[in-house]
């Protein structure tokens, strides 16, 4: 709540972590002390005039004048309504304060976001709830909420209507139900009789209103924020905008901005709250003496960020780090698991890559270029080694900030995609391909996204081109004697579809996404044309084709097929390092769990007995270190990281909010009190006594101890590698990466234990 932690609070009003009511009460008291001229219930409907002479019209018709106006109206006040006749009936609510207020009612909940789902869940305890979703699927809520919702639906406590739109709301007089909600379902109009409608459709910037004040927005995008100067001044001089409406949803930011704006208006020199932090980042960079010069340098030398406003750039830099590595220093190594993003401000960087065939290539990057995007996008190991050149000034941005930027600023995403596309084509097809051919190849390339289980193409489909897997992984299968037999597993950085392309026949197999997958489709015609002109790429694709033909000639292996299907169904497709137990050797001693607990404060991070089993292969409940970890998605203090070796771990900055636990689809994160736990000594082992007891979950004063999220960290920092594997007396427990495992099993050789470290 008091995020972002790095920023100091400027305002003299207090603000910190706490419950909503307390904070509001504090503010009320402090405002009263400051003798602020506060008007409540005074909705503003119009602002006109200019700096020094603004005229403000209230909803009551009253007029006020002001020299300056600071808009800090946020978004929440502008709730999205149903947008159909009847939307303003008193029993149509857009807020739910206390779900227990209603009892034995029939309530329709509209809006499949998290608030909607949470409301429906809370109401379903003592009411009949009908849940309406405009879309076919529940994609806008978290997985955890979706699971809870589905559980209630299965139990029959909540009814759902999908692909359903509101048509109108009517008042009902005929019977006990005061309302009739008319909705358009895929099967036609339906009249739902109910007591109440609760619509949770989010809020939107009150754009029309703000535009009527004369404020301009940069584009017509519904999420666009007004263009502001560095001092938060809009194009209307004297009219300032801060807070969520300006694109800063965090309270602390808004408070700081409010403070700064008032100081600007008073003519007091004031540095933005982040000035000192940013200044520290830029110190030592040649030719940069101030933050604004630093920002100007980025603007000038890094076209990727051209689309950002100065304010956005400042915020972006707050998360990033400026590096001045000496020439020849290694920035990251090939096969590292780091996933930050680098942009070059000055100097050069050399990237050394190695193709699948062992061909080595080096690329020179200069100011204005960026690198590290492949690891970021694919969630896999680095595909090359980056070495700093002369006079290098780099900006390193952590994964989360970069992803946020990609999602929120389409301009950055577009530019990044253009460059990334060529790089991945070069990397997965042929690193010696000339630039002109590359250009030709990627024209009209389509980025396609697939959910788990979705097909890229079916056996017998017409050949449409080459699919480069940029992110995720796919499974190749074929119908043999009426049964779907898995032939291969293909991971990111490889391609599928070459069989049909080379043989000029329809696709010979079905390809399905094994994890959320992004694929780039290169048009067949272009690929063929380029292959005709370039013998090197031709021979590469041909040899790949022959390899596949060879593999296909082998008799289908039912065991392999079954195992792959089993592992895929259980999400191993998106794993990077998963613990499996060969049950034909497991003597069920649970030493894996005991050793894990011993090394990790008495709390085991795996559950041996839980989890699925296929024939003799058991998949215990334990972290798989996903390529794109679900746990990282929504971690307020950004406490979950991936180390260069690939372990996804939770750092000490965990605040115990439990989001990661809810987001993990595999249930491998637990919230645990931090215990003092000591390993058992030899005499304790011999006499079977336990070590020091973990302290109880309560402090001495009876207050409960704060819990933090714990999960497997692959015994990071413990020499020798994961203890679950090392402590297995019979060698039944082993760790694999899906790639290594499947390629080895497919070739019929024995999969070896993955070497830790």
């Amino acid at each position: 709540m008091a995020e972002p932690m790095v920023l100091p609070l400027r305002s003299t009003m207090t603000f910190g972590v706490g419950i909503r009511e307390d904070i509001l009460q504090n503010w009320r008291e402090e405002l009263a002390k400051c003798r602020v001229n506060l008007r409540v219930n005074a909705g503003v409907v119009g602002i006109s005039g200019q700096r020094g002479a603004f005229r403000i019209t209230l909803a009551t018709g009253e007029m006020m004048t002001a020299e300056f106006v600071v808009l800090a109206i946020g978004l929440q006040g502008n709730i999205r309504k149903l947008g159909v006749p009847g939307e303003d009936f008193p029993r149509v609510q857009y807020q739910l304060d206390d779900p227990d207020e209603f009892n034995s009612e029939t309530i329709v909940v509209v809006g499949a976001g998290d608030t909607g789902v949470e409301n429906a869940l809370a109401l379903s305890k003592q009411n009949r709830v009908i849940f309406i979703n405009r879309q076919e699927e529940f994609t806008s809520c978290t997985k955890a909420n979706f699971d809870l919702l589905m559980a209630e639906v299965t139990k029959g406590r909540i009814e759902t209507r999908v692909s359903t739109r509101a048509e109108r709301v009517e008042e009902n007089t005929g019977n006990d139900f005061p309302l009739v909600f008319v909705v358009q379902t895929p099967l036609g109009l339906e009249r739902i009789e109910c007591h109440r409608i609760i619509a949770r459709l989010g809020a939107k910037p009150p754009r029309q209103l703000v535009e009527s004040f004369g404020v301009r927005f940069p584009n017509s995008d519904s999420t666009a924020v007004p263009q502001l100067s560095e001092q938060y001044e809009s194009n209307v001089q004297g009219l300032y905008i801060v807070g969520a409406l300006a694109g800063y949803p965090l309270i602390k930011q808004a408070m700081n901005q409010g403070y700064e704006v008032v100081e600007y208006i008073l003519g007091n020199p004031v540095e933005p709250a982040d000035e000192a932090l940013l200044k520290a980042k830029f110190t030592g960079v040649p030719g940069v003496g101030s933050v604004s010069e630093g920002i100007a340098l980025i603007r000038r030398n890094q076209p990727l960020f051209a689309a950002l406003t100065t304010l956005q750039l400042r915020e972006f830099m707050l998360d990033s780090t400026v590096w001045l590595p000496p020439c020849g220093d290694m920035l990251f190594k090939r096969n590292d698991y780091s996933n930050s993003f680098f942009s070059i401000l000055t100097g050069s960087v050399t990237i050394n890559t190695e193709g699948k065939d062992g061909a080595v290539a080096a690329f020179q990057l200069a100011a204005g270029d960026f690198f590290g995007e492949m690891g970021l996008l694919s969630g896999r190991r680095r595909s090359g080694t980056a070495v700093a050149g002369d006079n290098c000034v780099l900006v390193e941005t952590p994964r989360r900030s970069m992803l946020k930027l990609l999602y929120s600023v389409p301009g950055v995403r577009r530019r990044l995609d253009e460059v990334a596309l060529k790089r991945i084509v070069r990397n997965s097809l042929d690193s010696s391909l000339p630039e002109s051919e590359l250009e030709h190849l990627v024209q009209d390339a389509k980025l396609k996204q697939y959910a788990v289980g979705e097909t890229l193409f079916n056996e017998g489909d017409k050949a449409d081109g080459l699919y480069l897997i940029r992110r995720g992984s796919v499974v190749v299968s074929r119908l043999i004697a009426g049964k779907e037999v898995v032939l291969a597993y293909v991971s990111a950085g490889n391609y599928v579809g070459e069989m049909a392309l080379v043989s000029n026949m329809p696709h010979s197999a079905t390809v399905r996404a094994a994890s959320p997958t992004d694929a780039i489709l290169l048009e067949a015609e272009r690929v063929n044309a380029v292959m005709e002109r370039n013998s090197s790429i031709r021979s590469k694709v041909d040899s790949r084709y022959l390899e596949r033909i060879g593999a296909d000639a082998l008799p289908p292996d039912d065991e392999f097929s079954g195992l792959v299907k089993f592992l895929m169904t259980h999400g191993v497709g998106e794993a990077t390092d998963v613990l499996l137990i060969d049950y034909s050797r497991c003597i069920r001693c649970d030493n894996c769990e005991t050793a894990c607990a011993d090394a990790h404060g008495g709390i085991p991070r795996l559950n041996r007995a839980a989890g699925a089993t296929y024939e003799q292969i058991h998949l215990p409940t334990s972290c798989r270190h996903c390529e794109h970890p679900h746990c990282m998605k929504d971690c307020p203090p950004d406490a979950i990281h991936r180390s260069v070796n690939g372990e996804v771990f939770i750092s000490d900055s965990c605040i115990g909010c439990g989001n990661c636990q809810k987001n993990c689809p595999y249930g491998v994160i637990q919230m645990a009190a931090q215990n003092v736990h000591e390993q058992r000594g030899i005499w304790q082992i011999i006499f079977g006594t336990s070590g020091r007891e973990p302290s109880p979950e309560e402090n001495a004063d009876g207050s409960s101890m704060s819990k933090k999220a714990v999960k497997c960290d692959l015994c990071k920092g413990i020499s020798g590698g994961p203890l679950c594997v090392n402590a297995c007396p019979t060698g039944a427990a082993f760790r694999i990466s899906p790639e290594g495992f499947f390629s080895q099993v497919a070739r019929g050789s024995k999969p070896s234990q993955k070497e830790p470290g």
């Binding site: 030592g284 780090t321 470290g757």
Partner: protein, 322 residues
């Protein structure tokens, strides 16, 4: 299955410990055959002493396995080095990059330790082969001179420990697979839960049927035993299991109760009891397999402790009568 071809306890590190113990045994036999033997008690010869000391050391090593198995390798967190190497970093200290440096260090250290360090699987492999080699080493140490004394007692205890160990090896190699085949993804608790549910279901079905049937159902519910004494666990059987006999009798009584809904109820009841019978058999099989997998250790470990005591007595006696 391919996956089971990863190195096992017996072929660990290309039979490293098999080779080691074979060499020990061959060396001992060759020396025994070639070395001149005097008239004194064999253990007192120089070869007897050597064999005795080697055997005793092996016994201690084998006993240490019991501790190694329960002891997690010491956790040594590699403290990050305060100065991260090389980089001139602009601005204030940012944890991110220095973290990466630490990780780099961690990786190399971890790899070193891995290549030198041991896994528990290695321990077990050596435990088996060195244990087996004692049969030869200790027997040669006796010089085939036995008597009713503490020396022979140690020898016999050792053989018993090894014999139980051999059984254990057999169990470890065979039962795990059978347990999975029997249980699949389910646990014993799951089965017990289902059995309880079926008992309840059977009771409800029987309500509409005569007392004779109710008595059978009640008996099946109250007197069906799972597990129990060690022997019962190991046998995995219950003589005249009330569930099985109830199912049989219900089948026979089917022709007797043919009024109104009775045939239907009898059919349902029979189906329920059959399902329960299958679950009970599976649960017993599970208990049996687990008992057979585990019970030998209750012989192996106490016998090993007794061996240690006898061995101490043996050594003290020898030193005393030197």
């Amino acid at each position: 299955m391919n996956t089971t071809q990863r190195s096992g306890v017996l072929n660990f590190m290309h039979y490293r410990y098999f080779k080691l113990s074979s060499m020990l045994m061959v060396a001992a036999i060759v020396t025994y055959v070639l070395a001149p033997v005097g008239d004194e008690p064999y253990g007192g010869t120089w070869l007897g002493y050597v064999l005795g000391i080697v055997s005793a050391l092996i016994v201690l090593l084998l006993l240490w396995y019991g501790i190694a198995r329960r002891r997690t390798p010491r956790v040594r967190y590699q403290r990050p080095h305060p100065k991260n190497g090389g980089h001139k970093q602009a601005g204030s200290v940012q944890p991110d990059f220095s973290l990466r440096r630490w990780e780099d260090r961690g990786r190399h250290l971890a790899k070193d330790a891995w290549s030198h360090g041991g896994t528990l699987q290695g321990w077990l492999s050596s435990h088996i082969y060195l244990g087996a080699s004692l049969i030869v080493l200790a027997t040669l140490h006796t010089g085939f001179q036995f008597g009713w004394d503490v020396h022979t007692l140690s020898y016999v205890l050792m053989l018993l420990v090894i014999a139980s160990g051999f059984y254990g090896m057999y169990a470890y190699l065979n039962y795990p697979r059978l347990i999975t085949l029997n249980m699949g993804e389910e646990t014993l608790d799951d089965l017990l839960h289902k059995i309880a549910e079926l008992d309840e279901l059977a009771r409800i079905h029987a309500l509409g049927l005569p007392d004779e049937v109710n008595a059978l159902v009640l008996k099946a519910r109250q007197e069906t035993r799972l597990g129990g004494s060690l022997l019962r666990q190991l046998s995995g059987k219950q003589r005249n299991c009330p569930t099985i006999s109830a199912a049989r009798q219900i089948l026979q009584l089917g022709s007797k109760y043919i009024k109104n809904e009775q045939p239907e109820l009898m059919r349902d009841l029979y189906a329920v009891l059959l399902r329960k019978e299958r679950l009970v058999l599976r649960a017993r099989h599970e208990i049996k397999l687990n008992a057979r997998l585990q019970f030998w250790r209750y012989l192996h470990v106490p016998l090993a402790v007794a061996l240690l005591a006898a061995l101490l007595a043996h050594v003290v006696a020898i030193l005393f009568y030197w």
